[in-house]
């Protein structure tokens, strides 16, 4: 078992150093491509437009490592946004709205988790279902109306940065960084995290080892619901707009970043550090394309290509290792 883990860690270390090279290349090459790349103003905008996506990658990382997937993240964001708009338009006080959104987010995640664990349904199918369901609830809540005019203190999320950063770091970036540290600690330094890896590698083995697989997976889905609701609140305030299609389609960006971060789509492998690097690379590439007048709506090409590349690359590397001329000396082969 520990050998397998070590093997996984070694493979990931390589993957992450590759990502680090990409990020460093962006930092060096970016300013050459566009002199505006590393300016404070641009970094603020970059954080603004990628913050919520990045935040949602964190629970997704844990869920995919546990061997499941949550495709309803963007719909939960949209549902929280619609709820915020609807309740605000009915003059509910803000703290009460936040409480309702948190409860609804947890409940939405619990529905996903319970359907997956108690009914033994594949999470891919369940969360495609709730992707449509939660978006539908958002549509029922708001209909075709747009709610705006939230209090300036909240919409300033999209205007002001975190104090002492020269207004160059967005609040969503701060939430992401804090969340990343928390997820990293939980995943890599606690028994809970080890259980997540174990059930992703083999659910049966994990169960025999006494890990409460169902409970942990349900908790992960609930955390995802809560975090996506928070992302929905940030999204709504920074755009001062609640509409039923807020965040439509973001689940693909979230999954793409997590897989690009070296998390195995089959579960059991991955690291938060890799996902953080992938989020930086993803945001940097998207932003550079925008600065170089690439058609912004065609950046889906990038998401798609990165997704495919991150699924294919490990496979291709594995294939290459099988070729006779790239075989390593026997000693190393025994180690790996």
């Amino acid at each position: 078992m520990s050998d397998r883990l070590r093997e996984a860690a070694r493979g990931l270390a390589r993957w992450e150093s590759g990502l680090a090279v990409v990020v460093i290349a962006l930092l060096i090459g970016g300013p050459a491509i566009s002199p505006d790349f590393l300016t404070g103003t641009n970094l603020f905008n970059l954080g603004l437009s990628n913050g919520e996506i990045a935040i949602m990658t964190l629970p997704m990382t844990l869920i995919i490592i546990s061997g499941e997937i949550d495709l309803s993240v963007a719909s939960m964001l949209g549902m929280a946004s619609a709820l915020l708009g609807r309740l605000w338009s009915e003059h509910v006080p803000m703290p009460a709205i936040f409480a309702v959104i948190a409860v609804v987010g947890l409940a939405a995640g619990a529905v996903n988790g319970l359907l997956v664990t108690r009914f033994r349904l594949p999470s891919l199918a369940v969360t495609i279902g709730t992707l449509a369901l939660y978006r539908g609830i958002a549509t029922i809540l708001l209909g075709p109306t747009t709610v705006s005019g939230f209090p300036v203190g909240y919409t300033d999320l999209g205007v002001n940065g975190v104090p002492f950063t020269n207004d160059d770091m967005t609040w969503s970036t701060l939430v992401f960084l804090v969340g990343a540290i928390a997820s990293g600690v939980v995943l890599h330094a606690t028994g809970f995290g080890r259980s997540v890896f174990a059930m992703g590698a083999s659910e049966e083995a994990a169960q025999f080892a006494g890990i409460r697989v169902k409970r942990i997976k349900t908790v992960l889905f609930m955390v995802s619901g809560l975090v996506c609701s928070l992302a929905g609140v940030l999204w709504t305030f920074r755009l001062d707009t609640a509409v039923q299609d807020n965040g439509l389609g973001l689940e693909l960006d979230v999954v793409a970043i997590v897989l690009l971060g070296g998390v195995s789509i089959f579960g059991g492998k991955g690291s938060v550090a890799g996902v953080v690097l992938a989020a930086l690379a993803f945001a940097g590439i998207q932003n550079l394309l925008l600065l170089t007048n690439f058609n912004q709506e065609a950046t889906g090409v990038v998401t798609g290509a990165l997704l495919l590349a991150s699924v294919f690359a490990p496979l291709a590397v594995g294939q290459l290792r099988q070729l006779p001329w790239s075989r390593r000396p026997t000693t190393e082969r025994i180690q790996s």
């Binding site: 603020f44 747009t146 919409t155 755009l239 001062d240 707009t241 007048n293 709506e297």
Partner: protein
């Protein structure tokens, strides 16, 4: 530590900090641009952000060929760029605005796809020292100036005058509007009623119907009007969708020449109805002039010549002098009337 080495280290540290400070872009953004000519700065980076790219109306308003915003910016020696999304929605327009801010824009000339959703982005731009001028469609809470195509009063009264000229000074007329809740439509209709009362007491407004800017609904409500009021002499439709739908309904021997139609329309959509005589005259503003004026206003503001205070005036090239009105608004002027004699000159 050796004092000489300490001094060297200190010098190194100071110069490193100075170099970093020189490299850092500064939070205020909006580098001051180049030299000035006639009191206006040149070399300013001005981004023109229509509601969406590829919309013929905005292509005319913005492009250099038609004498729009970019033409004005070129003439002033600024660096003008048109940018936006491909859909007229905030989620499509905002990334383009953010990119423009990132690229060090000195001024933004924006037609807001949503009066509220763009606000955090535009406010952030203004906080970073970028001039924000809205044109065509306003975002009242978050801009330095708004260049309005025509005053509500001018639109309301001029359409009544156009129709009165066609039907004579008496008879039944009706209005085909957009949505019942549309602020601008209701303001125009209010002025129409005033003008009728004041100048044409024998013209009777018998009905106002709402086509919701949907071609099918507009067609249905127009047909309903004609059945309900067989003696109807004229229709005003102050919306481009409504007037095109109404014109298609009237485009038959039964109504042509008997029921007159005017309102706000685009020359491209109305051309065939003007050439076959269904419509004699309608109006709109000249989008190229609107963009041209907005560009001048933005450059004047970015050069510190305008602060938005009511009563300030400035010269906008070939269009002449303009004065800032209340609510930091500049009005382009009376609407442009299209008839068979001039319609072929316009393409949007």
């Amino acid at each position: 530590m050796n004092p000489r080495r300490a001094a060297w280290l200190a010098a190194l540290a100071v110069s490193a900090v100075a170099a970093l400070a020189a490299c850092s872009p500064g939070a205020s953004g909006g580098s001051s641009g180049g030299s000035s000519s006639g009191g206006l700065k040149t070399g300013l980076k001005v981004y023109v952000v229509p509601k969406q790219l590829g919309n013929p109306y905005f292509t005319v308003a913005d492009s250099a060929k038609t004498g729009g915003a970019i033409a004005a910016l070129n003439a002033l020696g600024e660096s003008g760029t048109e940018t936006s999304g491909t859909a007229a929605t905030p989620s499509s327009q905002i990334p383009a605005i953010q990119a423009a801010i990132s690229k060090g824009a000195n001024a933004l000339v924006v037609s807001a796809s949503d009066s509220s959703a763009l606000c955090p982005t535009l406010t952030s731009a203004m906080r970073r020292g970028v001039t924000v001028v809205t044109y065509d469609s306003d975002a009242p809470a978050c801009r330095d100036l708004f260049v309005n195509q025509a005053s509500s009063k001018a639109i309301g009264t001029s359409e009544v005058d156009l129709l009165a000229k066609e039907i004579g000074d008496s008879g039944q007329i009706a209005i085909v509007s957009a949505a019942a809740s549309a602020t601008n439509q209701n303001a125009w209709i209010g002025y129409m009623k005033q003008e009728l009362k004041k100048k044409y007491p024998k013209i009777r407004l018998v009905s106002t119907v709402y086509g919701n800017d949907d071609p099918t609904t507009s067609t249905q409500v127009t047909q309903g009007l004609l059945e309900q009021y067989p003696h109807l002499k004229g229709i005003i439709s102050p919306t481009t969708v409504g007037i095109a739908a109404a014109a298609a309904v009237l485009d038959s021997p039964k109504y042509r020449g008997k029921v007159q139609l005017t309102g706000l329309g685009t020359p491209d959509e109305m051309k065939k109805f003007v050439s076959d005589g269904t419509v004699k005259a309608f109006e709109l503003w000249n989008p190229a002039d609107l963009g041209y004026l907005a560009a001048y206003a933005a450059v004047d503001y970015a050069s510190g010549k305008l602060s938005g205070a009511a009563g300030q005036s400035f010269t906008a090239g070939k269009l002449g002098r303009f004065t800032v009105g209340p609510d930091k608004t500049i009005v382009l002027g009376p609407p442009l009337v299209f008839t068979s004699s001039n319609i072929s000159k316009y393409h949007f």
